[in-house]
């Protein structure tokens, strides 16, 4: 099968084009380095199946960071039949250097000048036909985001695929030594084909930046926006979640209960109190997750992440990290796993490891579900969003403390140079796609972990058969009892202890496990928990949930990215220890103060 590789600098829209070509769901965003691994998809082109490969962005062919090496190795080991070079038209005056480097490799090339819409808006004009003639390459202006110019470009790709790729990059390195010539050629081509206005007419970005990056107001605006986002998620998401939970309870009473009435008591209990209650309680959070990721898609696509890196770099530098590390923490709000993989853009291994040590402390969307449930159950409607926000602040604080403690062990001198892209807005299609991808991800986790988790919890709370369900004589009761000396000082009871143990697999299981343990769902469950716990116990439980190991997938990613068992063990041990100490200090402190 013929193979097409997408090549270009970071943040030029390779993944956007990949999604358009293959109908794929690669994650996109206005941030250099969203894609850090190879993605492939197959399409029918001119009657043949063709494999399209989306590669991480590279600044040049000499790159030293892990994601750039992925590209170099790929080009070396699998010569593509065609390389689609994607350049940001707005930045053609610097990105052409990569094209000229690639041209020396003697592979079939088709060039896409992407973001042509933006370039036009900024007043930059490119004579693609003339450039094509000067460089002797097929060159097309297009917008991968909106699709203009795409059909013509695709036709050229189909045509170019008919010819075999001429040579290969056998002597990749030696070919690249002659960068000197590139500069002169670049100047020659640009002079004849590109016109850039003396003053870029991107007034919007300049105006927004003068507010967003304001020396005094910048940081308060950042935290203010964050507060409003999470308040929005709570105010809109929580009622929907509670409504769906109620619908699931109704479905059980009116349909499932009578339907399964003929089964033996134990089977009914297993299916309804175990599997159904557990999974339904978790599934009620799907709209919250979608809402959260729609917000996240807007933030990631807007270009604001780079601004956050700019604002926070001064602090991050004192912690042995840089602005990118802060952005990874923000990405970790969605899911810690891609954030951990995102650290591949860092060249210094020490900085990469230090960043990977703080990312698991970032309050991910799975933990958000637990917190929405608990804050709604224990706090007034006015207080709950504030409590939720305080947990995000705790998440940052834990990351800061961790970096301060470990920065000398992971000392580094990584330079910090990063692009600030213009502000953009995602299309409705892109947002819908992101929401769908996250629902799919959630469902995959649900079928993998959540069902197995709630079944295990049901078995533990109902076995041995002689014991009264959920009593101290069950296996769950025994485990909870055995762990009691460890968890009593932080105000966590036996039932919550069992939920926490299963939360080690995935945080989504925590709420599902509680539904099974209490054999309640919906409002009845939050009512029971609100009745049994006071706010100090609940907050201590939430702090522990926030800080201890996020999930098995995160642990596996820590290991596969660091390839160092000692590091994974350090991360696990540290987060557990920190969780216990912080919960202990909070719980005992609050009690000592008389709460």
């Amino acid at each position: 099968m013929k193979r097409i590789a997408l090549l270009g600098m970071p943040n030029t829209g390779k993944s956007t084009l990949f999604n358009r070509m293959t109908g794929g769901t690669a994650r996109v965003g206005n941030w250099p380095g969203i894609t850090v691994e190879l993605l492939s998809g197959r399409i029918l082109l001119g009657g043949d199946m063709v494999e399209i490969i989306d590669l991480p962005g590279i600044y040049d062919l000499h790159g030293f960071s892990d994601d750039e090496q992925v590209v170099r190795h790929f080009l070396h080991d699998n010569v593509p039949d065609l390389a689609l070079v994607i350049l940001n038209t707005t930045q053609i005056e610097r990105q052409m250097s990569l094209l000229l480097q690639l041209k020396r490799l003697d592979i079939n090339l088709v060039v896409m000048l992407n973001m042509a819409d933006e370039a036009r808006k900024f007043g930059i004009s490119v004579d693609a036909a003339k450039m094509s003639a000067l460089l002797e390459l097929p060159i097309f202006l297009l917008s991968a985001k909106y699709g203009t110019g795409y059909p013509e470009a695709l036709q050229a790709v189909t045509k170019a695929l008919r010819y075999p790729t001429p040579g290969m990059a056998e002597h990749l390195r030696s070919q690249l030594e002659q960068d000197g010539h590139i500069e002169a050629e670049m100047a020659r081509v640009l002079k004849h084909t590109v016109q850039v206005p003396a003053q870029l007419s991107d007034r919007l970005t300049e105006k927004l930046d003068s507010v967003m990056l304001h020396p005094v107001l910048g940081l308060p605006i950042f935290f203010g926006v964050m507060y409003l986002l999470f308040q929005g998620i709570f105010i809109f998401g929580q009622p929907i979640q509670s409504g769906i939970a109620a619908a699931f309870s109704w479905l059980r009473e009116t349909a499932l209960g009578p339907l399964l009435g003929g089964l033996p008591q134990v089977m009914q209990g297993f299916l309804l109190d175990g599997v159904y209650n557990g999974v339904a309680t978790v599934a009620a959070f799907v709209p919250v997750i979608v809402l959260f990721f729609l917000f996240m898609a807007i933030v990631e696509d807007s270009g604001y992440l780079s601004r956050a890196a700019f604002l926070m770099d001064a602090l991050m530098a004192r912690l042995g990290l840089d602005g990118r590390g802060f952005v990874m923490l923000l990405m970790g709000f969605g899911c810690n796993v891609p954030a951990l993989m995102g650290t591949r853009v860092m060249r210094s291994r020490a900085m990469r490891l230090l960043t990977m040590l703080v990312i698991p402390l970032s309050l991910c969307s799975a933990r958000l579900q637990v917190f929405i449930f608990f804050t709604a159950a224990l706090f007034s409607h006015e207080a709950a969003p504030v409590v939720l926000f305080s947990l995000y602040m705790f998440s940052f604080a834990a990351a800061i403390v961790t970096a301060l403690i470990f920065k000398n062990r992971f000392r580094n001198t990584e330079p910090f140079v990063l692009e600030l892209p213009p502000y953009r807005f995602p299309t409705v299609r892109q947002m819908a796609l992101r929401g769908w991808v996250e629902v799919r991800h959630f469902l995959r986790r649900a079928t993998k972990f959540i069902v197995a988790g709630v079944v295990m919890v049901w078995l533990l709370t109902n076995l041995p058969p002689s014991a009264v369900p959920a009593s101290a004589d069950t296996f769950a009761g025994m485990i909870g009892g055995a762990m009691h000396p460890l968890f009593a000082p932080i105000g966590i009871n036996e039932q919550l202890t069992i939920a926490l143990i299963f939360g080690f697999i995935a945080k989504e299981i925590v709420i599902g496990a509680l539904a099974v343990i209490y054999s309640l769902s919906g409002d009845a469950l939050s009512g029971a928990i609100g009745h049994q716990l006071d706010w100090v116990q609940a907050y201590s439980f939430m702090l522990f949930t926030l800080l201890y190991t996020p999930c098995l997938a995160t642990v596996a990613t820590l290991q596969s990215e660091s390839k160092q068992f000692r590091f994974t063990a350090l991360s696990l041990g540290w987060s557990l220890g920190l969780a216990w100490l912080v919960s202990f200090a909070f719980y005992q402190g609050a009690r000592a103060l008389g709460y």
């Binding site: 040049d60 930045q91 610097r94 930046d209 700019f310 001064a314 602005g323 140079v417 990063l418 600030l420």
Partner: protein, 77 residues
């Protein structure tokens, strides 16, 4: 018309790059981002608490730390 480094410019200053004195990896990254001898750079703003600088080179806005900026010799216009 004095030779100085990018790190000593003030917000709003425009200068021409004279030379870049960085180790290979950083040098290549700067080249790829558009920093080349003879190119014009404008210092847009500086972050507070001695944070990074926002610099416009060609049509690209780049942030870099003062330590990195000190490796770029410029001539103020």
């Amino acid at each position: 018309m004095s030779a100085t480094t990018l790190a000593t410019l003030r917000a709003g200053d425009t200068a021409t790059i004279v030379s870049i004195h960085a180790e290979e990896a950083l040098h290549l990254r700067l080249l790829a981002l558009g920093f080349r001898n003879g190119k014009r750079v404008k210092l847009i703003r500086m972050a507070s608490f001695s944070g990074p600088l926002q610099v416009r080179v060609g049509t690209t806005d780049v942030m870099l730390r003062r330590a990195e900026a000190a490796k770029i010799k410029v001539q103020i216009i």
